[in-house]
């Protein structure tokens, strides 16, 4: 028993989300009210109609009884039984709905009847139709019509109504009658007319059916209207539920420009903003190394902040992460804004500077051809060389400011690494550098602009060679990585890291590393734009670039690119 109860409880529990929904409650409430209203009004309407119909039948019956009385008056005075029987039978046969007419005398004997075998029967005073008047010691002479009627079931189950119509002792009766009824006797006998209620019943049943159909239609209509009204509300609820599950790409459908429509569009905007925040937060989670690596056990994460990593799936909550990384977020936003405005400015300046530089380069070069004095020649050579350096800076600036969208194609990232290694490995600056490749062969393809990523890898390799003074080991590693999050979908990345055994970067420089024109190289070697350009390229791939460095031990630059190349 308790098992069955438990099972029922369990089933009800499963239904909980449905019967607790606003839609269901509204539907239940409105249909409940409608049904209650329908039942009450139908009950009263049917009852009133039934009473009216029965009243009509009774009026008809009473009139018929009166007509019979008049029709049989002469025959009664003559005591012509045969004629009385004939008239009764004729009326019963001609009038629709009459089941039986019988004439009962004051002694309760059925004198005439259209029902076979009824004639001559003595009706006891206790019988229903007699008891109405004969219940007391002295019989009642007159009775209201309603009290003279009774509804009974006929033998075949049909409902019938009977009405008793008294035959009163009138003036003529006591004088003219064959038996000369005593004047004190008021009632001489009773016409008992039985009528079928089949017509009334069928009318009521039809009426009930009509009402039922009407109310069912109204309820169905209410359900449809409710469904139409509830659709945007349900969409809102479902959309917000999806957002609660972490599906931030949810778009709540807007059905109309009404209040709910405006609410939905506003919520869509909020979700959009939140999505941006979450994506940015995920990226920062990655930066903050709050992540687990698929192919590296957690114990090896020596560099990770204390307790920040949770690999059990129950990652840190969003506010928790946000709190921890807010400083870094601020820095990153400042950096992004700075780079974007610098990019626009650089493009304008670069173009304007090229024209005067053309004149400087042209005339200094022409003069160099004419001058023979070694001292002046050296000066002019400096002008030409420095102008060329300006040209390089401007070219790099233009490159940096170029906001060309990457043309992404699915790419095996290891192939791009191999290409860069092949090209640079033959360069003189790499002759004394051991390149160690630790590439994961089973990496998924990433959607990238091969040329741009190639440029990034080359830049990082050249920087590594410079940091090692062209002597040491460069380890290039590729691997998979995943950002696990309790508040959003896991994000999969492919990572490529370049680790050198160079001088390392002081902490104060790490923060400025991606700033344009920041360089620690000799002015004639670097423009300070290489890493800014790399940063821009990687950001346009929705990826990330980060650096870890120890003075005297070396630096590691890590590029991460999203596997599905979304955005």
């Amino acid at each position: 028993m308790s098992k069955r109860f438990d099972s029922l409880k369990h089933r009800l529990g499963l239904l909980k989300p449905y019967y607790r929904s606003l839609g269901f409650k509204l539907f239940a409430f409105i249909s409940g009210i409608l049904i209650l209203f329908a039942v009450v009004t139908a009950y009263y309407a049917v009852r009133v109609q039934e009473e009216q119909l029965i009243d009509e039948v009774l009026t008809g019956a009473d009139n018929t009884a009166q007509a019979i009385e008049y029709a049989t008056r002469t025959a009664m005075l003559e005591n012509n039984r045969g004629k009385i029987g004939e008239i009764i039978a004729h009326i019963a046969g001609k009038t629709e709905g009459i089941e039986a007419i019988r004439l009962i005398d004051k002694n309760g004997i059925v004198k005439e009847s259209t029902a076979p075998g009824d004639k001559g029967r003595a009706v006891p005073k206790t019988e229903k139709q007699c008891a109405l008047c004969h219940a007391g010691e002295k019989p009642r002479a007159a009775l209201a019509r309603d009290l003279r009627t009774r509804i009974t079931a006929a033998q075949d189950g049909r409902k019938v109504i009977s009405i008793a119509h008294a035959v009163y002792n009138e003036e003529g009766c006591s004088a003219k009658c064959h038996t000369a009824h005593p004047t004190a006797q008021r009632v001489l006998g009773v016409f008992d007319i039985t009528l079928s209620l089949a017509g009334v019943d069928s009318k009521i049943a039809a009426n009930r059916r009509h009402m039922m159909a009407f109310y069912l239609t109204i309820t169905a209509l209410a359900a449809v209207i409710l469904f139409i009204l509830m659709r945007p509300i349900n969409a809102l609820i479902e959309g917000l539920k999806a957002v609660a599950r972490g599906e931030f790409d949810t778009e709540i459908p807007v059905f109309a420009g009404d209040d709910l429509g405006r609410l939905s569009s506003s919520l869509n905007k909020i979700i959009g903003k939140f999505r941006g925040e979450i994506e940015y937060g995920n990226l920062l989670m990655y930066d903050a190394e709050l992540i687990g690596r698929e192919d590296e056990p957690a114990e090896n994460g020596g560099k990770k902040p204390n307790g920040a990593r949770r690999l059990d799936g129950a990652g840190p909550s969003f506010p928790e992460i946000y709190g921890r990384i807010s400083d870094e977020t601020h820095l990153k936003i400042v950096r992004s804004v700075k780079l974007a405005s610098l990019g626009k400015l650089s493009a304008g300046i670069a173009h304007e500077i090229n024209n005067p530089l053309t004149a400087v380069l042209s005339y200094s070069s022409l003069l160099l051809d004419r001058i023979d004095s070694p001292k002046e020649k050296a000066w002019l050579e400096t002008i030409v060389e420095e102008t060329k350096r300006c040209r390089n800076i401007v070219t790099a600036l233009l490159e940096f400011s170029r906001q060309t969208a990457p043309e992404k194609v699915p790419t095996h990232i290891n192939e791009v690494v191999e290409r860069a290694v092949t090209l640079l490995g033959n360069q003189e600056s790499f002759h004394n550098i051991t390149i160690v490749k630790n590439l994961n062969p089973s990496l998924p393809r990433v959607k990238v602009d091969r040329g741009q990523i190639y440029q990034v890898f080359m830049n990082l390799m050249i920087n590594a060679a410079d940091a090692m003074n062209n002597r040491g080991a460069l380890t290039i590693e590729s691997r998979r990585n995943v950002i696990k999050s309790a508040v959003a979908e896991d994000r999969h990345f492919v990572e490529v890291s370049f680790s050198d055994t160079g001088c390392g970067i002081p902490q104060e420089n790490v923060e400025r590393l991606f700033d344009p024109f920041f360089t620690t190289k000799d002015a004639s070697v670097g423009t300070g734009l290489g890493l800014s350009i790399c940063h821009g390229i990687i950001k346009r791939h929705n990826g990330n670039i980060k650096v870890a460095s120890r003075i005297g031990e070396g630096s590691t630059f890590t590029i991460s690119l999203p596997v599905n190349g979304e955005g």
């Binding site: 493009a347 090229n354 530089l357 053309t358 004149a359 380069l361 042209s362 051809d369 300006c390």
Partner: protein
């Protein structure tokens, strides 16, 4: 001696003067004499080309009025034998490829050295029949 007529189209007077002086100063490896004329816009260039023919047109891309890219198309339509060399301060691979596709024979980013521009012009000039 071969004579080649050059037209420099650049809104920057300093660039026009530099070009004129480079061709006056530098000696041609192929014994070519260069006659240089300059204009400040693509519209001026087109007007001049109505009355005078040039072997090589050196044009900037970003100028007030008609842009250099359209000048390339118009010259190529009316004077297909004229060689066009693009000189621009806003050089990207994309613009270079586009200019070459439209019929430019060479592309020199600004700032250029006298040797660079001479070399580009001579490359175009040696392929030409004497006018």
């Amino acid at each position: 001696m071969k004579r080649i007529k050059l037209l420099i189209v650049d809104d920057e007077i300093v660039v026009q003067r530099s070009c004129v002086d480079i061709f006056a100063e530098k000696r041609s490896k192929y014994d070519i004499k260069y006659d240089v004329k300059t204009v400040s816009s693509a519209d001026e260039a087109l007007r001049l080309l109505e009355t005078e023919s040039f072997d090589i047109v050196l044009t900037d891309l970003k100028m007030p009025g008609l842009p250099g890219i359209e000048l390339i198309v118009k010259i190529k339509n009316k004077h297909p034998e004229t060689a066009i060399i693009v000189i621009t301060g806003f050089s990207t691979v994309h613009t270079a490829v586009e200019a070459m596709k439209l019929g430019a024979t060479d592309f020199i980013p600004k700032p250029f050295t006298p040797d660079e521009i001479l070399s580009a012009v001579e490359n175009a000039a040696v392929k030409m029949k004497p006018s």
